[in-house]
Symmetry: C2
Subunit: 339 residues, 2 copies
């Protein structure tokens, strides 16, 4: 009896906006385990904005996603078979299983699969608040923005998994925290659920002048730190309100992914305001993960950290859920539930 594994492959690269045609559902048999290997049944697949970058052929910080192969992605699941002494059936694990239901993995490779404790933390949170998005927010906030109590921190894509982490970690450090999100419902939740001091609906602003005015009202003492998830008009507006010695952590530039780069209108503000701008990729800073996960895990386990999940159902729904994520249709962490 052969177990079938359903996978999503990338079969073509997008010219401009990606579409469902770039993906294809493929069924393959699960092959027998070799010595040292573990078979994981993935429970949740994580969908993240960085995957859009991988779909392109062009030079980026990472290798492009190969065509006709399983899309890359973080997963949490359960060990269902093991020929590795460090893992046994029933272990809950986090890894990079990709867009598929089963993952056969050589668990002797350092770091490919990690056991997690679900006593106080839900399994899915290891893909969000206590996973890559949480640590991403932690790194940009703590290591680049490094805010002092009383400073003002602005976060774009505030209702997303990364943005929510940045804001709540900044609040815990005594900062004034202002989010930017799309639409009144998201903005309301960012303030009421996630505890931000204010949230600006960028969709209510047609130009940089209007958005900058809203930022001035929400940030009466100016902006000391900005966690950049978006780029474009929002970056321009924030820079107009940036204080001397302010810091910007560059995490994502969604608005530039679909082709033409979107310029920064006034880079001379970097000099005028003696700003520091720094780009980072959290996977290059594995040394901070234990410290970051300790803080994030503690906050989640004690209920001090709030987050939402948007959950699509079944591997076949992954492409549409991913396209929705790129359009901002999710609230909080976008997941695909596989079981």
């Amino acid at each position: 009896m052969t177990t079938l594994n359903r996978q999503i492959h990338l079969v073509s690269r997008p010219a401009g906006e990606p579409s469902a045609d770039n993906f294809k559902l493929v069924e393959v048999p699960v092959e027998a385990l070799a010595e040292g290997e573990v078979l994981v049944r993935n429970h949740y697949l994580s969908l993240d904005p960085y995957m859009r970058g991988r779909m392109n052929e062009s030079k980026s910080y990472a290798q492009p996603q190969p065509l006709n192969d399983v899309m890359i992605g973080g997963t949490v699941g359960e060990v269902v078979a093991s020929r590795n002494e460090h893992f046994k059936e029933g272990d809950k694990v986090v890894g990079m299983g990709g867009w598929q239901e089963y993952q056969r993995v050589n668990a002797n490779q350092r770091g490919v699969l990690q056991k997690v404790d679900t006593t106080h933390i839900p399994l899915s949170a290891y893909l969000g608040a206590v996973g890559m998005p949480g640590v991403t927010g932690w790194y940009g906030l703590v290591k680049i923005i490094n805010p002092k109590a009383g400073e003002t921190v602005v976060v774009s894509a505030a209702s997303g998994a990364v943005g929510g982490a940045v804001g709540q970690l900044a609040k815990a450090r005594g900062c004034r925290v202002v989010g930017i999100a799309g639409g009144p419902a998201k903005c309301e939740a960012v303030v009421k659920e996630l505890g931000f001091d204010a949230c600006i609906d960028y969709k209510a602003h047609n130009d940089v002048r209007s958005l900058s005015k809203a930022l001035k009202e929400a940030c009466p003492d100016g902006i000391d730190g900005y966690f950049e998830n978006v780029g474009g008009m929002i970056l321009d507006a924030v820079m107009l309100r940036a204080n001397a010695f302010s810091r910007i952590a560059f995490c994502g530039m969604i608005s530039g992914y679909n082709g033409e780069p979107i310029p920064m209108t006034n880079p001379s503000l970097i000099l005028v305001n003696r700003m520091k701008l720094e780009g980072f990729i959290v996977s290059e800073h594995m040394e901070v993960w234990p410290e970051a996960l300790k803080e994030l895990g503690g906050m989640v386990a004690t209920g001090k950290f709030k987050y939402r999940e948007t959950v699509a159902d079944g591997i076949a729904a992954a492409p549409e859920a991913f396209l929705g994520l790129l359009k901002g249709r999710n609230f909080g962490k976008q997941l695909v539930k596989l079981i």
Copy 2:
């Protein structure tokens, strides 16, 4: 008998490019010294790009230069009268005397006037290599770019006083150093006199693609550090050749001074290349001056540091010399000789 002091005042703010009409020569009597004051006869006036920013009304890192008052500026000179116990006639001093022949100053204010030793270092060098421009280059290179031996550092405005310092300090640290300057004569001197490994004539390139290609040839291992004096197309071209974890020190953005900001075409490269960009103003980092001046002074005194000066004659020539500086007509440090 009254000594007359000739001064240059700013009498109007430029709308776009500045012109000689923005300035006016004024003659005033030198007044008697009060207790604690010193009268300095200025020998050299320093002309620097930052003065262009001060001519504008708009918000910047510094107060605008007031209208109908002596233009701000660094000076070196000789004490000709003193009612201050710390200074005596004949002392050579550096200060912020402004665009005028004589400077009456309360020398009890900390840091307004500093005695300098001209045994091994020419007086004028305290306005260049062993002064603000030298320390500016030192700070951006050492504290922001912080290059390792073997890395490639690019410097725009390479034939200027700051650029020359950056390049020679980087060479002393074992870097490959590539300058960017305007015209074949400057480029030749940057290589042959200042010892850069290569220098690109930006005037020979009409677009970012062409300039970026020239950078690729001059920087076969990519660019690890960039000292930004200019902005615009040069910044865009450098960013296209920037290595992972490269650093840009923002010192000047001349191309943006005359009105419209000049955009950065592709800020997503900050993320893609995990770059760090940082603006700075050297007067905010007085703590590094002793260390920087020690290195720079040692190099100048032992003939290891090469520099050129472009010297205008007499206070009346200052406005035209300044306008020439903004157009890149100088080579090396632009001075006005007053005596």
